[in-house]
Amino acid sequence: MSINYIPRRFTVVRDKELCINCGCCVRQCSNECHYFADDGKTALVNSNACVACHRCVDMCPTGALRIEKYVCDYRENANWTPQYQQEICRQAATGGVLLSGMGTPKPYPIYWDKILLNASQVTNPSIDPLREPMEIRTILGRKPEKITVEKKGKSTVDMPPQVILETPIMFSAMSFGSISLNAQKSLAMAAKNLGTLFNTGEGGLHPDLRDYTDCAIVQVASGRFGVHKDYLQNSRFIEIKIGQGAKPGIGGHLPGEKVNVEVSNARMIPEGSDAISPAPHHDIYSIEDLRQLIWSLKQATHNEKPVSVKIAAVHNVAAIASGCARAGADIIAIDGFRGGTGAAPTRIRDNVGIPIELALAAADQRLRDEGIRSSISLVAAGSFRCSADIVKAIALGADACYCASAPLIAMGCHMCQTCNTGKCNWGIATQRPELVKRLNPDIMHERVENLINAWNHEIKEIMGGMGINSVDSLRGNRLMLRGIGLTEKELEILGIKHAGE
């Protein structure tokens, strides 16, 4: 056996006084941290493979298990931190690109936490959302510049296809393959009941989700997996995925072992073959190519489906967003760099892109400066942790927000960041049948719905406090925001004042 060079990360502690040796942990840990002694009865622990997913902790009926950080000090060095040393060791052993799952854990500024919200006092009444209607219905799609009417009450305008959401929260793209069918189905069921949409990612649409096409956003990504006429037709809108916040400029790679029969059918690729999404779309080398693809997709769907373009938040995101709008995108989704992923090269995830707050503020302002903001919809993505984040994003200018990590957490994800291993103990980021069945869509859609309903309530509460009873009046209402501890430049980009001003 060779030297490991990297200490383990966690220690699983079993409280012998509480443990009843029921063996639940043994049967639940896909990393095989728990096992029985030779007597077949006494549960033992080997912490080496522990990823702190908490499956055993949460399942243990007596609370006998605890996961601790394994503390193993290195000589202090602010530059050569243990993490870099360990990553070097890992690469020295494998010669490979480091891969990680979920969004970046690095302590980059989170502007949501540096923005404060306003509320009404005296001069303007706050509104009680329990007594007054509080509207969060959101309509996405390209809008004509103006309405034309025959007379009051009779519209004659030719409206392009619109998407009506009962909440400004949608579920972001997570493909079947990167997540399990049960996970995707839970999101689809929740979306249907909530009046919002889920996103197939680039994994195609599994036949089991046929009942949910009304609330499906179907993605057309660089690999074109699963794309065919019915797929496009069976959707609420189509999304061209140019980039992803967690890995701008990088394609995707679903390893062959995750491509089982079901995944292979949905993606229309041979079973067991690697599903590789190229970094660029090989038919989009310029903005005019994007325009052609947008028009092709609209043609293919008889102009019945809005087309969204999803881009990663990169440095000149505002100009790119404007370009997309002018190329015919009805909806522009911007994915900030804290966004999640099933697997991304660690270096890319942790270093490329910009935060969604700045990207959103810049893009919204740019589109307004060009006078085209009201004709298209802007969707923000990239790590919304709570309803206040959503409210802030809408006030910065978003029409709607894409959430992925939060619903995953509602379904059991513990951010152990090992989605790439395919051994997700919560049945989310895995295709192993014995793990997938752990995620019961009948339970999980309820949990996801509860989460979004809770957020909806909170959004309404916050709006009510502001004296606003329609999310329309929150959108782009940056006067409702104040920065705290931000520099002049940051405030300028965000287009908000400092608290106290």
Binding site: N124, K146, K154, G371, S374, L479
Partner: protein, 366 residues
Amino acid sequence: MLKEGQIRIPSGCAIAAIIDRKGGMINGSEIIKSIALMHDRSNGLGGGFAAYGIYPEHKDDYAFHIFYENSEAHKACEDFLFRHFNIDAAERIPTRKVDSIENGPDIWRYFGRVNRVRMNNSRLDEGEYVVQCVTKVNSAFDGAYIFSSGKNMGCFKAVGYPEDVGEFYMLDKYDAYLWTAHGRFPTNTPGWWGGAHPFNILDWSIVHNGEISSYDTNRRYIEQFGYKCTMQTDTEVITYLFDHLIRHHGLPLNVAADVLTAPEWDEIDRMDKGKKEYFTNLRAIYSGALVNGPFSVILGSNKGLLAVNDRLKLRSLTAATKGSRAYFASEESAIRIICPDPEKVWSVSGADPVFIPLELDGKGED
């Protein structure tokens, strides 16, 4: 201390209006009496009036009312005005001394028509040309402020209680077929005359009571289309919204009112197909123009008078009619003091704007 345009100042208010839809003339003393009754709704930091039909002899000319804070501004502004318009008459607006009103600017008015050569060169239509000239003066000429720019109408405003402002401008000498009035209760003391209401652009004038919570949404919406909200007041943004919807999008006044106070989705969902589609489209296209928060607005124009209340009816606004006259005021008493026996009195509801069109037989209309 920052004045309007440098800071957003919320305020409470009293508003009142009288219209004779047949074009019958009403003396200024009436509207003063009405607004004066609501003395306690203002705090002496702003009052004003708009009057329609007061300049019949100049009815085809733009009437510019301008505050000058100094002679440099006066000169620069006049130069600009004379270059862009063919000005027929220029005079100080007559005022009388009122104790409570002091430190006022020099107040002038001009009558004239657009300079067609310049206008054609600018490739703007006439309305847009005038608006841009006014915006230019107000944003670029420090110390000069055009506060009235319509035809056959004029705004009169100052820092003070409205009844004192009326006295100051000698409004008992004016007769108009449409009056609006405003008494202001700002929550700080900018002491700037330009900040008083009504707010006017072309012949649209607005008096407004309330504080709209959708201000920045509305501002950022309207600013996409070339407007610049220099005053940072609700009244300004509402005026621009109306101007944009009516002038640029060609919407009837009552459709524009629907945009600002669109019904709730609950209500829309219950409507028949045609109406549902109308309001859904309206809300989808004009989500940025939906006005939220408490407000009551009276929009005056040469087309008539529109009274709008917020969707939740958070601000009071009472309407009454008698004969060819219609009365509006924040409080019913302010109507009854000048019209003790109205035929009909009602509270303007959020969902149902009131529009009183003028039927002037071509008398006041372009």
